[in-house]
Each structure stands twice: as C-alpha cells, then as structure tokens.
C-alpha cells in the first residue's frame, strides 16, 4: 500500500492550508505523489483520494486529464520534445527523429533498460529558443543533434 514519507506528509499539510476546500489540493498532492512514487498507479490514486476524502474516481478523472501525470512507470530521465509550429519551423521534426534514433525508441515509449522515456510535447513557452526540449523538467533551448548527443552523454 502506497504511503507518503513523514516529510511528504508534512508538505501535504502545508498544501491543505492554502485552499478553502480539500479538493483544491488535488493537483499539488498529485505532483507530490509523483515526486514520491515516480508515477501515479491506481493504488496511489486511491491513497491520494483517501488523504483528500474524495471518491477515487474524482482523482482518477484528474489524473487522466493532465498530460504531466504518468500513468505508467517512466524511465530515469524523461525527455519531452516540443514539436509545435514555432519549434517545427526551426527544425523540431528533424531533431525529434534524431532523438528517437539516438536513444532507440519512439515518442511515447520507455527504453528497456529504464534509462529514458521520450514524449512528444506541445509548445512549452520557449518558442524563441526553438527547437527546445525538456529533460526532467529542465529547459534546453536552441537544440541541435550535436547538443543533444552531448546532453545524453551526461545522463546516467
């Protein structure tokens, strides 16, 4: 059974104090849960629902609406490559192809060794530096295949 660490529980209490309803804490609590457990399994959803005193379906509805909540285990490094128009005008398509070849999976997949998950992302508010991608939440702008190879080499 999933359960928060004492530290996460303390953070959860702080989160609750920010809102007039418990339900409003759903998104922040799910972010916390994803940090704690890596992904949002059905057990985690049930656990979060218990904390928030909500029927589990209410948490399920939310998890399935937002793209950032992982409903499957993910690799150690999550790469999200933008392919929306402004980035695409500056070569995002070719970059994504390179990324797929370099790490050997297609967008939406995780490598067998659990090192990488690759996702295709929509515009990430970095179009001025396109093509761009995020690795574990950090922005990398002005990406080229060479820059990407250097980046990958640094990731364990």
């Amino acid at each position: 059974m999933a359960a928060f660490s004492p530290q996460a529980l303390a953070e959860f209490q702080l989160i609750l104090g920010r809102y007039p309803t418990k339900r409003a804490a759903t998104l922040p609590t799910l972010h916390l849960a994803q940090r704690e457990f890596g992904w949002i399994s059905p057990e985690v959803m049930a656990y979060v629902a218990g904390l928030l005193e909500l029927p589990p379906i209410k948490v399920y509805e939310v998890v399935t609406f937002y793209t950032m909540f992982h409903q499957k285990p993910v690799g150690r490094h999550v790469i999200e490559a933008c392919a929306t128009l402004p980035c695409a005008l500056n070569g995002a398509e070719a970059l994504l192809e390179h990324v797929e070849k370099r790490i050997g999976i297609r967008a939406g997949e995780t490598t067998k060794d659990g090192r990488f998950t690759l996702k295709k992302a929509e515009c990430m508010a970095a179009c001025g530096g396109g093509p761009c991608l995020q690795v574990n939440g950090d922005y990398h702008e002005g990406m080229t295949p060479e820059k990407f190879d250097r980046l990958v080499a640094e990731l364990a």
Binding site: P28, F65, A83, T84, L85, L89, E122, A125
Partner: protein, 450 residues
C-alpha cells in the same frame, strides 16, 4: 502616438507646407524597456537586486491610495489585458461586487498559446515584478488570497516564484495578504480563465458556461478576477511613474508597452518589448534581425497560433496595436508573432496547428471535440497527397459548425487558423490536392507534420 520620441523619424522629415524643410532631427532615443528592464541583470530574480532597481515603489504608492482610487487610476491608464482579449483591466476589476466576499485575484501564468513565451521570461527572471503587480491588484480588489496558476512544465519558474514569495514575505512586503503558487499539470485549456478556475478547484479543466462571469461567481464560487502575468507586470510602473507618463507610451486606444514574442523564420527570435503601435517591419527586420539570407516573407501570424494568419502583402505597413491588427483581418491576441518565409509549406503548418487543437480540445462540446479531430484528419490526408476535390469546402463547413457553437472560445481558436489559411493560401492547398503531393518538397523547410 502622442509623444515625439516614439514617432518614426521619417515622418518628421517631411517638409512642412510652404516652409523650408526642417533641420534633420536626431534619431529618437532607443526605447527603454519597462517590463523586461531587469532581464539580463545578474541575479535579477533576487529581492536585493529587485530592490536596488526600484522594485516595490509602485506598490507603496498604490497602497497609499484607497482601493477605488487604484481602480480609477488603472482605468485612466487605459491598460488592456495582455492575456489575449485586450479587455480593459480597470473595467474588469470594477465588475467585482462589493457585497459578496471574499474576493480572489488569480494570476494566469499558464502561458501555452503556441508562439508565446513572454510570461515565462518574466516569471523566471523578474518574479518580484509579478509579485508587486499582484499585490497592487490584490489591494485594489480587496483580495486577501491570490493564486498564481503557473504552467506545470515551468518547474524553474515555480521555484523562483516560491523563493521570491518567501523573500517578500520575510521582508514584510506581503502584509497580511497571501499569494500561493499553484502548478498546473499539462493542459492548454487551463489557460482559458474558467478552465483555469476548475483546475484550481482540483477538477478537470473544463471551461464553464458564461454567464455567470468569474467577477460574480469565480474561484470557489466567489467573485474573482483572472489576470495575465504581463497585465499585472504593467502595474508597478503605472503607479510608480504615473498615468500621464504611462499614456505617453503606445497609442491612444492601445496604451503602454507590449512584449512581442517573435518566433519562426527570423535570424534573432526572442522577446522584444516595444510600445504598442510599433511598426511590424521594424520588429521583424531590425529587432529580430530579418529573415535568413535570400528568403522573403510569405506569411505571419500576429497573435499566437489561434489567431488568423496574414499574407506578406497584408502586413505591409502594419503597426502592432489591437486596432491596426484587427483592421487587417487578424487579432493581436497574445502577440506571439510567428514568421514564415517563402520556403514554408502552408499545408504542413496548418496541419501542425490543427493537430495541436485536436490534441488540446477538452472534449466537452461535440462540435469542438469531433470537429477538431476531423480537421486534423482531413488536413493530414491533403498533406499526404490524398486530398480529394471538395475537401476545402468540407474543412470550411466543419469550421462553420464549430465557431460560435461551443462553450468556450477554444472553438474559434480551432476554426480561425483553418479558415484563414484556406482563404489566404487557397492555391497552396489546391495544388496539394490536384498534384497529390507537396509542390515544394523536398526543398521546403517544412513544419513538422507529426
């Protein structure tokens, strides 16, 4: 433009009637940024840097005024919302009723309109500017609690805001007001203000039917104002330097500074802050460095991907203010200026845009959910060389059945690109259908079709 320094120098060189040509005037002083003025300064995100650059002076002046007077000043400033619609901010604030409490101020930091990247720059580099603007707004509205709804992907932005809030709180700048950072989790529709409110309440980001408007029934059922990051970032200067000064910037109907996000086929894409009414040609060919060698302009979207596209001949002499862009058949929107040169395949661009909207429809309304998917499918077929006679009429017919028939303006955001691309670049689409391929390929520096 009321003030001489912002006038284009060429206009002033015109000989006056009957008289001698005036002496050559020196070029106007370069525009000094107001919103982006701290960007590029080391440690611009820290309180001590912000204070050394004059932060929180506007707040002090606003706090010395009664809330009603603050609202009046904002009305007089002519500030219009920078989130896309350009609605006058002071008017929006005055709709909040005085007999229903509490009031909430929500900062829309969900920035996700393709082509727009100004709010992220402000948040990451100058979080205190946003906090100061939020505190001014909260004072005007009597909002004890405010939430900054920030895009989930902006991890650094959220960290910087949390840290800046902690600094501001410790320095006593927040008084007894609370400002909380609330992270989204990946959904374009949460930028729409009522979708945002649902999301803040812990639900799916399904936009609400209006009325009631958020001013009466907003967050947690209470009177609420939702303002964009850049809108609030205008407030400190308005109060520090005064309305008279502020109105010297921009045009009569579109006052103030604006951050233009220039992306696509220019040599120096990026954020450029200019007065509203700034000439587009200067923005593209001077500030953004122009197009790549040997290339000419083909098309331009002036306000983020949901706004109608314009042809190169339609943007000649265009000034970037709400009225002028509308007069040319598009809208200034979020001022995400997407530039496409003559190597661009318009079919692939539209396919990319339409896939975005099909992906991001929240699914509540049948015309939007089904229509956006059909648009993307038909465009995919045309792009792949399998278009059929009648496809363009079919596309336009689907658009007619979406726009104006949905809960939220996402319906228009889905239809307008298709309608405008097909109308203004009909030959490109027709050629794909009759030739069963892209006439430009493989030369095209094409947009992604994935």
């Amino acid at each position: 433009m009321p003030d001489a320094p912002l006038e284009h120098p060429d206009q002033r060189r015109q000989p006056r009637e009957g008289g001698e040509p005036p002496a050559p005037v020196p070029p106007p002083p370069a525009y000094e940024p107001i919103l982006l003025r701290n960007i590029g300064i080391p440690d611009s995100h820290l309180l001590k840097t912000a204070l050394s650059r004059g932060a929180y002076q506007g707040l002090k002046k606003a706090q010395a005024m009664a809330p009603e007077a603050v609202i009046e000043e904002v009305k007089k400033s002519g500030l219009r919302g920078r989130g896309g619609a350009g609605f006058p901010t002071g008017n929006k604030w005055s709709f909040v009723p005085k007999d229903k409490w509490p009031h909430y101020l929500i900062v829309n930091a969900d920035e996700s309109e393709p082509g727009t990247f100004k709010d992220r720059a402000l948040i990451e580099n100058d979080p205190h500017l946003l906090i100061e603007g939020t505190l001014i707004g909260a004072h005007a509205l009597g909002a004890e609690v405010s939430y900054i709804y920030i895009r989930g992907e902006m991890v650094l932005g959220a960290k910087r805001l949390e840290a800046a809030l902690a600094e501001a709180r410790a320095a006593g700048l927040l008084g007894n007001r609370q400002i909380h950072v609330h992270r989204g989790a990946g959904a374009y529709i949460c930028g729409e203000e009522t979708g945002l409110l649902e999301s803040l309440e812990g639900k799916r980001g399904y936009p609400r039917l209006k009325p009631p408007f958020p001013a009466l029934v907003g967050a947690f059922g209470k009177p609420t104002v939702v303002n964009n990051v850049e809108t609030l970032a205008n407030l400190p200067a308005i109060f520090d330097k005064g309305v008279a000064w502020y109105r010297t910037i921009g045009t009569e109907k579109s006052p103030g500074p604006k951050i233009f996000c220039v992306s696509g086929h220019v040599r120096r894409p990026g954020n450029y802050e200019k007065p509203l009414g700034y000439p587009l040609e200067k923005l593209i060919y001077e500030d953004a460095g122009g197009l790549r060698p040997g290339r000419t302009l083909k098309a331009l979207i002036p306000g983020g991907s949901s706004m109608p596209v314009l042809r190169a001949d339609e943007v000649q002499g265009l000034t970037m203010d709400y009225e002028a862009v509308q007069a040319r058949g598009s809208l200034l929107g979020s001022a995400g200026v997407i530039v496409m040169d003559d190597s661009t395949c318009m079919v692939r661009c539209l396919l990319n845009i339409s896939r975005f909207y099909a992906h991001e429809s929240c699914g509540q309304c049948t015309p939007c959910r089904e229509g956006s998917t059909w648009l993307a499918k038909i465009l995919g077929r045309i792009e792949a060389g399998q278009g059929e006679g009648g496809d363009l009429e079919l596309l336009l017919d689907i658009c007619d059945n979406i726009a104006g028939k949905t809960i939220c303006p996402f319906g228009e955001a889905t239809a307008w690109p298709v309608q405008s691309f097909v109308k203004r670049f009909r030959d490109d689409f027709a050629a794909h259908i009759t030739q069963h391929r892209c006439p430009q390929r493989p030369a095209a520096v094409a947009a992604s079709a994935r």
